[in-house]
């Protein structure tokens, strides 16, 4: 996309990527490699754990994993119960992978193209994960209620069956909105984080006479923002995993008649 504004003598553009064509499809190469690096980091962390995992006294590294797994398991068991054990790997992977991706933003400097952009700041990865989750959620709902029960669920609630058209409208909208919000929440937060870094970088051109006020402010602001951004990254990863669990909870819930 082109420049957002040239009014203040700065040229901040958004959504710029290193792009290549492959089988007629546009590929954001920088996002692909950042995704692969994030994935490799998670896989390596996992395999290191696999090699070192002990039933004895765990080291700090294993303890970190155990805390994450324990938190996800508690969350799943509290909301879904023992039947939810199958989605623990998905929720855990989502949390760790998204958190790793989000941390890449700490390396960003707010330039037009980053060496290692946060893959979650591009719409493709959040959308891919959200759709993947939602497809599995619907599959779980069909498994739980049967095909007929699954369809009936759209018209039978929350209002009495007489208002089935209202029910159907509300439920369809809700099911469409779920992956959209899941995607945009994550993407929007990380995208905005990157944009903020660009704005802070652009602050450097602000001078009062010869005094480089913008340059002096830019560094501490960037440091502060990055600390804040790390918290945002953790929170967004947590929210994505938590909402995944809650969507499965709704899909796998027993019918209450």
């Amino acid at each position: 996309m082109g420049p957002v504004s040239g009014l203040y003598g700065i040229d901040i553009s958004v959504g710029d990527h290193v792009q290549r064509k492959l089988f007629g499809l546009t590929i954001n190469v920088d996002i692909v490699w950042a995704t692969c690096i994030a994935g490799l980091i998670v896989i390596i962390l996992g395999l290191v754990l696999r090699a070192k995992a002990t039933s004895g006294v765990p080291g700090k590294f294993q303890l970190l994993w155990e805390m994450a797994v324990g938190a996800v398991q508690t969350q799943v068991e509290d909301s879904i119960g023992p039947r939810g054990a199958k989605i623990v790997p998905l929720a855990l992977t989502l949390f760790i992978f998204i958190f790793t991706c989000n941390l890449f933003e700490v390396l960003s400097i707010g330039s037009k193209l980053e060496w290692l952009p946060a893959p979650t700041s591009d719409i493709n990865l959040p959308l891919a994960m959200a759709l993947f989750v939602i497809v599995l959620v619907h599959r779980a709902a069909i498994k739980n209620r049967g095909a007929g029960g699954y369809l009936k669920h759209y018209v039978a609630q929350p209002f009495p069956p007489k208002l089935f058209f209202v029910n159907a409208f509300m439920n369809v909208v809700e099911e469409i909105v779920k992956p959209v919000t899941l995607t945009l929440r994550l993407f929007g937060n990380l995208f905005a984080g990157g944009l903020m870094l660009s704005l802070l970088a652009a602050l450097v051109i602000w001078k009062l006479g010869p005094a480089p006020i913008g340059a002096a402010l830019s560094v501490p602001f960037t440091v502060l923002w990055k600390l804040f951004d790390m918290a945002i990254g953790a929170i967004q990863a947590f929210i994505f995993a938590l909402l995944t669990i809650l969507y499965f909870d709704t899909a796998m819930a027993e019918e209450h008649h």
């Binding site: 995992a53 294993q62 855990l92 759709l131």
Partner: protein, 177 residues
């Protein structure tokens, strides 16, 4: 501002590649990492459960041993009490027997002493009687040999009787002593 050929809200081919990447990561975590971690967690829980059970067992054993010790101590105390009571009883009976024996011996000694005294007294009396006979005889000879004087006879008789009294009382005193 020309509208770009792509919009940052519209996904492109990247979608497929990153989806595959995510599925691979998910597969590795689900197949190779979590089972190992869960096995370790389960094993540790089992270990802890086992250790707790062992600790409970040890505690129960200790309590049992303590109870046994207490019982044995109580038994030993009772036994000691019995032994002391027995010893006291024995001492009492021994003492009583000794007292009885001593009393008997005392009685015997006293009795034999009294018998001796009686014998001695008898002997003394007989001796005195014999002496008195001789004195009376001598007195009678003197009476017969002299002129009869009632007053003189009376004096002689008194003298003789006094002599006899002195003899017998001296013998009786010696026998009683």
């Amino acid at each position: 501002m020309p509208f770009a050929t792509s919009n940052f809200l519209v996904p492109n081919g990247t979608f497929i590649v990153v989806l595959l990447a995510f599925i691979i990561v998910l597969g590795v975590i689900a197949k190779f990492v979590l089972p190992v971690l869960n096995a370790a967690l389960t094993e540790r829980q089992e270990q802890i459960r086992g250790e707790l059970a062992a600790a409970d067992q040890a505690k129960a054993d200790a309590e049992e041993a303590d109870a046994t010790r207490r019982t044995e101590l109580e038994q030993a105390r009772n036994q000691a009490r019995d032994i002391v009571a027995g010893a006291n009883a024995t001492a009492e009976s021994t003492k009583a027997a000794a007292v009885v024996e001593a009393q008997a011996m005392h009685d015997r000694i006293v009795a034999s002493a009294e018998a001796e005294v009686a014998v001695a007294r008898q002997a003394a009396v007989e001796e005195v009687t014999a002496k008195v006979g001789a004195i009376v005889l001598a007195a009678a000879e003197r009476v017969i040999g002299r002129e009869i004087n009632a007053a003189d006879h009376q004096d002689l008789i008194n003298e003789a009787i006094a002599a006899v009294r002195t003899e017998t009382s001296g013998a009786a005193a010696g026998g009683a002593r």
